[in-house]
């Protein structure tokens, strides 16, 4: 959704088109994940209409560097965890998530190349912090799933893989694990802005539908 907001605002026409295409890819990925992650056997979240998104997605991005950092770092963090699922021992996930990884390769190429060009240091540090929070602390759920073989990699592996993919060490960040919400996988409170939430839930669309017929 945040990618889509940039499909007419990126620095070049090619980047506009890439933003739209990557947004569509990721909507597809969300749908597949929503339908298949239950196979992990972890309990469902509460169905209170809330979203378990990273804080980075709470507000629209106002600068292209924010897009670039999300694309290079956060999207890579998601891909690495998908890779851990695709190489784990849950058969349904092993077969269903392969195509996603092929598509994500191009997101990563796009993000990495733009990262070298756009001076995005501040946004990249924020994306790193939220990626590490999203992966979570050691000796918690991710390491447990790794011990069961459902995830092929544990927290330490995932952090190292993210460094390799992004190209460079993770910035030294002190994360307040005491404030970490294990369901939403973030330390900061808050959530998606109301206007975006309306669009995600189809409410904005309904407003323009004819009332009769």
């Amino acid at each position: 959704m945040r990618y889509a907001e940039w499909c007419i605002a990126a620095p070049s026409l090619e980047a506009d088109i890439a933003a739209a295409a990557m947004g569509l890819d990721d909507i597809g990925h969300s749908r597949v994940l929503y339908g298949s992650l239950r196979e992990l056997g972890t309990p469902d979240g509460s169905d209170d209409g809330g979203y378990g998104n990273v804080p980075y997605l709470d507000r629209p991005w106002t600068d292209w560097t924010e897009f670039v950092a999300a694309n290079a770092v956060l999207d890579s963090a998601f891909s690495i965890v998908i890779e851990a699922l695709a190489n784990g021992n849950v058969e349904v996930l092993r077969s269903r998530l392969r195509k996603m990884l092929q598509e994500e390769r191009y997101h990563y190429l796009h993000g990495r190349s733009w990262m070298h060009e756009a001076k995005a240091d501040a946004a990249i540090e924020r994306a790193w912090r939220e990626s590490l929070e999203w992966i979570g602390p050691e000796q918690a759920d991710v390491d447990q799933l790794n011990a069961e073989g459902k995830l092929a990699y544990g927290v330490r592996d995932l952090r190292r893989m993210l460094e390799e993919r992004v190209g460079g060490k993770s910035p030294q960040l002190a994360i307040e694990w005491k404030a970490w919400d294990p369901v939403r996988r973030r330390t900061a409170p808050g959530g998606i802005d109301p206007a975006t939430l309306e669009m995600l839930q189809g409410l904005a669309e309904k407003r323009y539908m004819p009332t009769s017929g």
Partner: protein
């Protein structure tokens, strides 16, 4: 934020693809990008109208032209 809308230096790449193994590759378009990585990402995103079995890109400056339309072969 003062970000320039254009890259300092770019290359043009021609994009080739085919829908089936029995078909020859054909030129489906071109992209402009500062490096190969971004050119790959752009080519895939821009020319996604078919389920191509193969896609490749070639930097246009790597192509050696022998002659063009209206030009003599010799």
């Amino acid at each position: 934020m003062g970000y320039s809308r254009v890259h300092a230096s770019v290359r043009e790449y021609d994009v080739f693809a085919r829908k089936a193994r029995v078909e020859p590759l054909r030129q489906v378009g071109s992209v402009v990008a500062p490096d190969d990585d971004l050119a790959m990402a752009y080519a895939r995103a821009t020319y996604d109208e078919e389920r191509w079995v193969e896609m490749m890109i070639v930097p246009r400056d790597a192509v050696i032209r022998l002659w063009g339309p209206g030009e003599s072969e010799t």
